[in-house]
């Protein structure tokens, strides 16, 4: 976190232009306002107290104004981040639900034809560039077949008030008489971007799950179970899956950073109103304040997910907990 804020802080000096303007986003400020801002950011002090001033402003929720729209960055992020969270979580879930079982199957059928086929497909899936896949998906499913919508989070027909920002929850909270139709519509909108994002992580999960399962199947307790005369089915379902799963969970946090990067590109392709698209547009507009704030918010989000997965890992795996106490 410290590193992140230092990086974001130093960006305002590295970007061209006045560092106060870069930090506050006050493009149209008068000279007096600027000097006031400079005082607030302690521009005349040494670099360390400047940094402290910067940090204290961030903690009070002030990320400055967007240079392009002159709206507070914090409110823009509050509006946009939930859409990205929703999309990436759905994609993550999708990647896990498909990737992990397939990986397990590949491990169980180790060195057989089906294992090879799964590995080949996983390799292919991992190599496909996401923007190409996104455009291809729009071409096939939206334009040719007309099954799924190509842009946005929900059709403009439905009026859903922004409460949490997570569309599905907002729909359930709304008092629209067309709630169910809106829900279906939002579902149809999320399928394609979520699948596109999920593909690469899913292929990684396949490989992770496969090697985890292979490892587990080699262990002595599985061999003991085999010696006891349990069927393969019993071994897999009662012993192997849970243990292999724990190993995979440990890597989910790591994969999540990767997934969010993919989500940013995908948001642009599918006009998803999330923070990734906003951040990429900010880069086009040279909106330095937005870039700093957006980066910080996104990194914090990824950071939180890391911590969360570590906790889940610890909850699932007694070994991880005990290590702390030492043996």
């Amino acid at each position: 976190m410290l590193l992140l804020t230092i990086l974001s802080f130093s960006l305002s000096f590295l970007f061209p232009g006045n560092s106060v303007i870069n930090m506050s986003g006050q493009v149209n400020a008068t000279a007096e306002q600027l000097s006031l801002l400079a005082a607030q950011y302690q521009q005349n002090e040494n670099i360390f107290s400047q940094y402290l001033a910067y940090i204290s402003r961030i903690f009070s929720g002030d990320l400055g104004l967007s240079m392009a729209s002159q709206l507070p960055i914090s409110s823009e992020i509050a509006n946009l981040l939930p859409a990205t969270v929703e999309l990436s979580l759905v994609a993550l879930l999708l990647a896990m639900v498909t990737g992990i079982p397939i990986g397990f199957i590949a491990a169980i059928r180790h060195r057989k034809a089906s294992d090879n086929i799964i590995l080949t497909i996983a390799m292919l899936g991992y190599s496909i560039p996401v923007f190409w896949l996104g455009l291809l998906a729009i071409l096939v499913f939206s334009i040719q077949l007309g099954w799924l919508p190509s842009a946005g989070q929900i059709s403009l027909l439905y009026e859903i008030n922004h409460v949490t920002g997570i569309q599905f929850i907002d729909i359930l909270l709304s008092d629209s008489q067309y709630k169910w139709q809106a829900f279906q519509n939002a579902g149809a909108h999320i399928i394609m971007p979520a699948c596109v994002i999920a593909l690469a992580p899913a292929t990684l999960f396949i490989r992770l799950a496969r090697s985890a399962m292979l490892e587990v199947l080699e262990t002595s307790y599985i061999r003991a179970a085999k010696a006891k005369g349990l069927t393969l089915q019993q071994i897999i379902f009662r012993h192997a899956i849970r243990n292999a799963f724990v190993k995979v969970i440990r890597d989910v946090g790591l994969q999540f950073a990767n997934l969010v990067t993919i989500a940013m590109v995908t948001e642009v392709i599918f006009s998803w109103p999330g923070i990734g698209r906003w951040l990429i547009e900010s880069i086009f507009h040279r909106d330095y304040t937005a870039i700093q704030g957006g980066l910080l918010a996104l990194s914090c989000f990824i950071f939180l997910v890391h911590i969360l997965t570590d906790f889940i890992y610890a909850a699932l795996n007694p070994l991880a907990r005990e290590k702390k106490h030492g043996t």
Binding site: I138, G146, S150, A151, L157, Y178
Partner: protein, 539 residues
């Protein structure tokens, strides 16, 4: 075991949601069936058509939110009653009396609830706002009423009076038969005086053009700049034809974005579609086209040599291959212009012959004018695409190649952006220019006076600076009578003068396109003015 239970609960929950969903569909019907999404090409700059001329804004507001006193009938462009159920013009053409309907109600929204129906006060307010520069609302949105200023409305109307609550009289300074057409345009909408009063009391007058109140078939529900406009049906609309419940403008400036949304079924109607062939091939889509009331032309600066010589102008006109231009620039989607008047206008002269394309004749004329060795000229071309000329630069290049055949060397000038371009044209710095005109209303005068009259040459709008007294007399006489046959004769003579003197070479009348889903029925596109969703249905 608990996993099993969980799975069961989840399963039954899903079933429950699905069943519940089915119920609500039966009760309410699909919202999508009662709504239309229109993918538009840009955000409106205001919600009051009086203050703008841009097509995007007119499309989004005029026919959806408002009504005018009178309107154009879509079949033959004749004038029909709207808020005024009838009207009367005195014999000298100087007094116009309008008798208003008594059952016209304004929108009732979150920000305004009307207490009365429309009456003469509202009409008075709407026009006085434009006419009277001391009116408290005149300067609210910058005091610019570009359409009314261009037709010199305030010079024409002496005053406006309320005879009784439902009768209003315009007194004109001189007879002008185009006034009815001007009052029927998309710009001459009727606002609510009561709403204006309320805003004045609250001290937020500027809201009148941002949160609109009109009498039209739809009222504004929500607008997010750059994203969408949501209109809902005006339940007490006086024309009471059953229409859709919700109209959403999905603002999609990207051409490919609009096409994708159309093909994916995310919008029902799309403005200015690309890839026409693809749309025609699709069975569930329809491509609509209307020949717009516009003209793309090559205009000569008749004050500067060599184009002060009509022979040179004629020679150039003869040497331009219009067919090739239509095919290349408009992809065949435009009509060749024989005169400045499009075919759909009643003033179009059937006898007007297609202009010849003859290199040898052109050479003869050029020799006659004393330029047998050829000459060098400039063509100014704008950078921005316009409805009447989507690619002026390429058009200039085609003309350059055509004129090379008669030994004319063409320099293309295209380095100015639109505002500078127009300013320099007004100063007469050009020799010739590729320009055009889109009519505001179907009255033929809207082509003659702004484009080629002497007054307009003085004002700088007539970029040819051509001023022909006979021509001016003819178009003046045409305005002083309401007899259409007589006017037609005047205009035919005026057209003959243009054909003979060639201040402009008319090139094309372009078409306006729109694509829609087969489910949408009704007429949206008009040959002039904005789109209209009145009476449009979805099956």
């Amino acid at each position: 075991m608990w996993q099993n239970n969980l799975a069961k609960t989840f399963f039954s929950l899903t079933i429950l949601i699905v069943l519940e969903g089915c119920d609500s569909i039966n009760d309410e019907g699909l919202l999508a069936q009662k709504s239309i999404i229109y993918c538009s090409e840009g955000s409106p700059e205001s919600f009051n058509p009086q203050t703008v001329t841009s097509g995007v804004t007119i499309d989004a507001t005029s026919n959806q939110l408002y009504n005018r006193l009178i309107t154009f009938q879509s079949e033959d462009n004749s004038i029909a009653p709207s808020i005024a159920k009838s009207w009367h013009v005195t014999r000298d053409g100087k007094k116009l009396t309008f008798y208003l309907r008594k059952d016209v109600s304004f929108h009732s929204t979150k920000y305004f609830t009307p207490t009365r129906k429309l009456n003469a006060d509202d009409v008075l307010f709407s026009f006085n706002r434009i006419l009277d520069s001391n009116h408290e609302f005149h300067n609210v949105s910058g005091g610019k009423y570009p359409f009314f200023q261009s037709v010199e409305f305030s010079k024409l109307v002496e005053h406006l009076e309320k005879i009784n609550d439902y009768t209003i009289r315009f007194t004109l300074k001189h007879a002008d038969s185009s006034i009815l057409a001007n009052l029927a345009t998309d710009f001459a909408v009727i606002l609510s005086a009561e709403y204006a009063e309320q805003l004045t009391k609250l001290g937020i007058q500027q809201q009148i053009d941002i949160l609109p109140i009109g009498t039209g078939p739809f009222k504004l529900k929500e607008y997010r700049a750059g994203s969408f406009i949501r209109y809902i049906a005006h339940q007490e609309y006086w024309q009471k034809n059953k229409t859709i419940e919700q109209l959403v403008f999905d603002i999609t400036p990207s051409n490919t974005g609009r096409l994708t949304k159309l093909l994916a079924g995310e919008c029902d109607v799309t403005a200015y579609p690309i890839a026409h062939q693809k749309i025609i091939e699709r069975e569930d889509l329809i491509l609509d086209a209307v020949t717009s009331f516009n003209i793309g032309y090559l205009g000569f600066n008749t004050q500067k040599p060599p184009f002060n010589n009509p022979l040179v102008r004629k020679a150039v006109a003869l040497a331009i291959n219009k067919k090739a231009i239509i095919d290349t620039i408009y992809f065949g989607k435009a009509d060749i212009a024989n005169s400045i008047i499009p075919k759909a206008s009643w003033a179009y002269n059937e006898d007007e012959q297609a202009q010849l394309y003859s290199v040898s004749k052109a050479k003869e004329l050029l020799a006659l004018a004393g330029y047998s060795d050829g000459l060098t000229m400039d063509i100014w071309a704008m950078q921005e695409p316009r409805a009447y000329n989507p690619d002026a630069l390429t058009m200039a290049k085609l003309i350059q190649a055509d004129l090379k055949k008669i030994n004319i060397t063409v320099n293309i000038v295209s380095s100015f952006e639109w505002a500078t371009f127009l300013k320099r044209l007004t100063l007469g710095e050009h020799q010739s220019v590729l320009l055009g005109w889109s009519a505001d209303h179907p009255d033929p005068d809207n082509f003659f006076t702004p484009l080629l009259s002497c007054a307009s040459a003085k004002a700088g709008n007539n970029r040819t600076f051509w001023c022909n007294q006979d021509f001016d007399k003819l178009i003046q006489s045409a305005l002083q009578t309401t007899n259409v046959n007589l006017r037609k004769q005047y205009y035919a003579k005026a057209l003959a003068i243009i054909a003979d003197d060639v201040p402009v070479v008319p090139i094309a009348h372009s078409k306006r396109f729109q694509a829609r889903s087969k489910q949408v029925s009704g007429k949206i596109l008009n040959s002039f003015g904005g789109i209209s969703f009145v009476g449009v249905r979805k099956n």
